[in-house]
Symmetry: C3
Subunit: 343 residues, 3 copies
């Protein structure tokens, strides 16, 4: 019996099946410090326990995206080891903040299957849930990937296409218990702009840039226990390059968006996202945002902004797609998310 | 209204004004571990809680320079985003050790202003204070920078030159409450040399060297939430180089000085410092020290040494300035500080 | 008196002498997080406090190899600063897990001396012990190194060759108090293979590879406060390369062996190890294991496997030595250890 994990092939997924992912993980101040070393993260609610307490939380949570990466990393050996492409995300929701001392685990339910017409691969949709040591779901998201078949003659499963929301409605968002922005300190947070200062359609060039090093993206990707060979092994691709984990670009982009969106403190929902082009070490990443929507929430002083976050390596700000409707070659990431911001 | 921070220009500073800097930060064992990964730091008082307790402290503090960088980083968006040059430091004092769980914030008072004769820039002096969650000042220092004017026609402010001490007197130094070196363990600390073993004028070649990588200085500079573009964005300078944060060189130099100054445990005062030449990845940094002065302190067993710490990329040890009185091109740092050492 | 540490030369070691090494170190969640960032470490018992508690421990210990490196690092200034070669390890035993908050120190006893026939160097054998703040030995190992003489005319010491076990017997291994694998969760651990599923002589290609960056091995080596110049200073060797600390290769190899040995959770014994060839940044490391022996232990549900762990840069899996009996040039590490695994 072979001892190493061959990953799953398309024909091995069954509709409705729940896969419990391995390697639970306890987080501490170490993960928080590393997040601040790896990304230019400055959102006060995640940087300062005192600031977090001033808005009704027991302390500063682990960055929402760090929690996402931790959960995502656990799914790689079961979901994407034989993936050809990471096709999309939907219905991502952060349900409980993650605090130091929490232990996260993850499971994924197969919610859709569709074999490709070539018979050699298929698309698998999963709904992944991250849970803490009390069994509470801390976040969930849907993701679909194209996965190779091992046996091309294996019969195609019945096609099931999940119904996924294009965009989460404001009422789908879960506000952390106790969150109260009525006494929010804008000076400590770094910018005066509140919910009402942002207009739908407004676009913000976040100005700052970061040139990525191999050591950095590998440290980050390993920290989330993501095992995909292509991020670490320079002999894996024919061109000798190590592909940067898409989540590294997401965290880098989000951190860079602080400059102009310092008060968009918490990520509450992920509507969708595309890794438009691959990112490699040496790329200098700059980002811009567009306000797609805004909404009130029932929590005191808390508003929500739906934001498009775009990361690119070069090119002009606000450029996204060409006349052919396809992403420009310098665009790395097009993310659509809901953030919580003081009203 | 533009949402991103344009930084302040010279004409926007007012004498006596106090700027509260953003993004408070809670530190944990994570920052301590990262400090040990980023620098060859070995001072026992910062490495071991038990050692720190054996000299009267409640536990190992965060490295004094880490506390300095954390405070310094917060000032960058308000003080040095449009700075042309970092001109000097003075009257730096460490007033309270920073412990795990502490949350630091910072504010700066404008204590001097002088427009340059060209009318296009001016010098701003600030006194910066870092405070903890109890409102206690943990450190303070003066710094002056040359800042661009945005509007060259803006009127010059009245010139005010602050009176700053060339050197802190021994009685200006604040000894941490409870510090007692009478039962100091020289074996655990790593060297037998005590206060009386150092002579004024003595120079020490610290021998060891470190070749700096891009990933390392960026991880460090981000950890302190320093946002200056020039450290991270290889497209920012015309030569495509990323300038290394001067504080990275300070911490590296101080850590390398362990070999010969292992017992110069705590930094109590910063008299001045010059970043003589820029540092870039690939530079191999070596350091030497000179004993400038010595003093007793009222704390049991605790003496003070005033030390010059010089970092250079190549060149011979103890070389500092040329015949023209200017720093040699290989000299990176010339720092003047007071350290506490067992008598 | 010169202030810097010149290291010890061969003629300065005395049989039976015990050297107390400097710089005690307190560990926290920071060291754990960094270990996960630096290595693709995924063993559940070290990743999750809850998993560790489910097998009878009070929480997740610091990785056994991190504890080893911490102790090893302390010995460098006293044992290997003037070493020409690191010749071998034997009788390594992990006696107590290291937990967050523990403070480690180290001492080494000289247990063997043999001057080389050329009269210019000699071999020193030491038994090193790492102890915690309660004075309990957490690990011990023997190591021998070839050390230069300073004075070639210094008389040769009496030759003493220590008797060292080729291989630790299963009864030499110390099982952590309370360890109980009877309710071990194989799903959370990541693989179904238990003790009985491994056969003596079985070899496992662990498949994954990592290309090493300069920043990574330096961060790791500094984290363990290892001061050997050759790892950090690119001007130290004539070829301008920084030699990677052998322990970095050990930790990388062990972490990569997760894929196929996910349940070989704890390292209990180190029988021996050879750093067969030097490792440099840019090398892509892959690993394979061979099952050398197996044994039962008195602890409930706990078995032991004796494993050979081989790391290589290129070449075919399972290739180790040439026809001349010497290690192939691509082999980096040949390690022989005992691991604890559920039966």
């Amino acid at each position: 019996m072979a001892k190493t994990n061959p990953g799953r092939f398309f024909e091995e997924y069954r509709m409705g099946e729940v896969i419990d992912h391995a390697v639970p993980r306890t987080v501490s101040g170490g993960e928080r410090a590393l997040y601040h070393a790896l990304y230019p993260a400055r959102h006060a609610l995640y940087s300062s326990d005192d600031f977090a307490r001033s808005v009704g939380l027991p302390g500063a949570p682990l960055d929402d995206l760090a929690a996402f990466h931790l959960v995502f990393g656990k799914t790689v050996p079961d979901v994407s080891l034989n993936a050809v492409a990471n096709l999309g995300y939907a219905e991502g929701r952060w349900l409980k903040p993650v605090y130091q001392g929490d232990t996260l685990r993850a499971s994924s339910e197969v919610i859709g299957l569709k074999q490709n017409s070539n018979g050699k691969s298929g698309v698998v949709w999963v709904r992944t849930r991250g849970t803490n040591q009390r069994g509470e779901t801390v976040l969930e998201y849907c993701r679909w990937v194209m996965v190779r078949k091992k046996d091309h003659d294996a019969p195609a499963p019945e096609t099931v296409l999940p119904e996924l929301k294009e965009v989460l409605a404001p009422e789908d968002l879960v506000i952390p218990e106790g969150l109260d922005f009525t006494n929010y300190d804008f000076t400590l947070a770094g910018e005066p702009h509140r919910w009402g200062d942002y207009a739908i359609g407004e676009r913000i060039d976040h100005v700052d840039g970061v040139t990525i090093e191999e050591a950095e993206h590998m440290l980050a990707t390993r920290l989330w226990q993501n095992t995909a060979k292509v991020h670490f092994d320079a002999t894996h691709r024919e061109d000798g390059k190590r592909l940067i984990y898409g989540g590294h670009v997401i965290s880098l982009a989000r951190a860079l968006s602080f400059n102009g969106l310092a008060n968009a403190q918490m990520i509450a929902g992920l509507n969708g996202g595309a890794h438009a082009n691959p990112c490699f070490a040496g790329d200098t990443v700059k980002v811009w945002s567009e306000v797609l929507d805004c909404a009130e929430t029932p929590a005191p002083g808390v508003g929500a902004l739906r934001l498009r976050l775009v990361a690119a390596k070069g090119g002009a700000p606000f450029a996204l797609k060409g006349e052919d409707g396809r992403y420009l070659p310098e665009v790395l990431l097009d993310l659509d998310y809901w953030a919580l911001i003081p009203r």
